[in-house]
């Protein structure tokens, strides 16, 4: 359940942004959790809601975008879709895939109130 640690890291980023930008409350938190990021989105949402009370995230809408995974298939010399790390190449059926996208976990944007 590392999503609780990740939620705490999100809160730290929010507090650091608040120190720079001088806002009191987050109305909407937009995250990006790629399909290959190793994050369970349901658990992350639960963790964020659990730590929110009494913080700048209290009452915030939580939006989590989940971009699909992408990988480079050396055999096909092509970029292909990859929904999970155990997937084979959809073109050639081989497993020599190197993930190239969808592995990021980022705080994208905050809608804030002073």
């Amino acid at each position: 359940m590392h999503e609780m640690s990740l939620a705490a890291n999100v809160l730290q980023l929010v507090d650091a942004a608040a120190a720079r930008e001088g806002f009191a409350q987050v109305r909407r938190l937009t995250l990006e959790a790629g399909a290959l990021a190793g994050v369970e989105v349901r658990a992350l949402r639960f963790a964020l809601e659990a730590i929110a009370p009494g913080t700048r995230l209290d009452g915030a809408d939580i939006v989590i975008d989940e971009p699909p995974g992408q990988a480079w298939c050396a055999a096909c010399a092509a970029t292909v879709a990859m929904a999970a790390r155990t997937d084979a190449c959809p073109r050639c059926g081989g497993f020599g895939l190197r993930p190239t996208g969808g592995s990021a976990l980022r705080v994208v944007e905050l809608l804030v109130a002073d």
Partner: protein, 284 residues
């Protein structure tokens, strides 16, 4: 200020967020107050952050990696489920390294949620160890490793070396290497995401766990440079298909290296030592 790498004093100050055992240097996390802030009301605006959630950990991990390199320390992060034999393999490895490269400085950072039992087992071999108790945490993070490393004699070793020779460690001399083992919290999921500044993650998988673990927990095997299949002395007693297991691991990580060994019988230990010492000039 250290003249070798620019880090703080040898030894360590108060640990941030941890309770320190004065006698052993062991670190206990997970007992801090919750932060509270006072909400206000006013107009709304949008702030674009585009910030990596693990960015703060990554910054410390990068600093750890530079710090280890400056001290000539090669670092291995051992990850596996609980009970795969990490501590048993470590004890056997430390004994074997002592016989093969007696002058090679060694140290261990032990991660668990609770108790100092594993650090006690390591210290019984004569190798310095720091126990890091994560409290409720399911993994070690880079700041914990930075705090623990500052409390190990390996840190002083590098400093003394730097002071005697008066030159930087990154000048091409591969002299006086040292090995640091980090035994992560037993967990096949969470440690995959946290870079500690190690040279390589090593995933252990015991034959009693089943050969399909790489498919069930792909993130961890994707993050590892080496998979060590342990407890091979038990192979006659379990349904574990070694070739299938390796095939599964290569599915999620085409470049993963594989070793098989039994810490109990010692079979396979030599190849493991070769792997650990590759790139580190071991003094005789």
């Amino acid at each position: 200020m250290c003249v070798v790498c620019g880090c703080g004093q040898p030894g360590a100050g108060p640990a941030v967020g941890a309770v320190v055992n004065a006698a052993t240097g062991d670190l206990h996390y997970g007992a801090g107050p919750a932060r509270v802030s006072v909400p206000g009301m006013s107009a709304e605006r949008t702030i674009r952050l585009e910030a990596d959630v693990l960015g703060a950990n990554q910054a410390v991990a990068d600093a750890n990696r530079a710090h280890f390199a400056a001290h000539g320390v090669r670092t291995f992060n051992l990850v596996s489920s609980p009970g795969s034999g990490k501590t048993t393999l470590l004890c056997a490895t430390l004994d074997a390294l002592r016989r093969r490269a007696s002058a090679l400085p060694l140290a261990v950072i032990e991660g668990d949620q609770q108790t100092c039992r594993d650090a006690d087992r390591i210290r019984a071999t004569g190798v310095p160890a720091i126990q890091v108790n994560t409290g409720k945490g399911c993994h070690l993070d880079a700041p914990m490793v930075a705090e623990a490393f500052a409390r190990l004699p390996l840190h002083d070793h590098g400093h003394r070396h730097g002071h005697h020779h008066g030159h930087a460690h990154d000048d091409g001399h591969a002299h006086d290497p040292a090995l640091l083992f980090i035994e992560n919290v037993g967990n096949l999921v969470c440690p995959a995401l946290w870079d500690l500044g190690e040279d390589a993650k090593v995933a252990l998988l015991s034959v009693t766990e089943g050969d399909d673990k790489p498919l069930k927990y792909p993130d961890l095997f994707a993050a590892a440079r080496l998979m060590v299949i342990t407890k091979t002395d038990l192979l006659p007693h379990v349904d574990f298909d070694v070739a299938q297991c390796i095939g599964y691991a290569q599915r999620v990580n085409p470049g993963i290296e594989v070793l098989l060994l039994s810490a109990k019988t010692g079979i396979g230990l030599d190849a493991w030592l070769d792997w650990l010492l590759a790139g580190a000039e071991a003094p005789a």
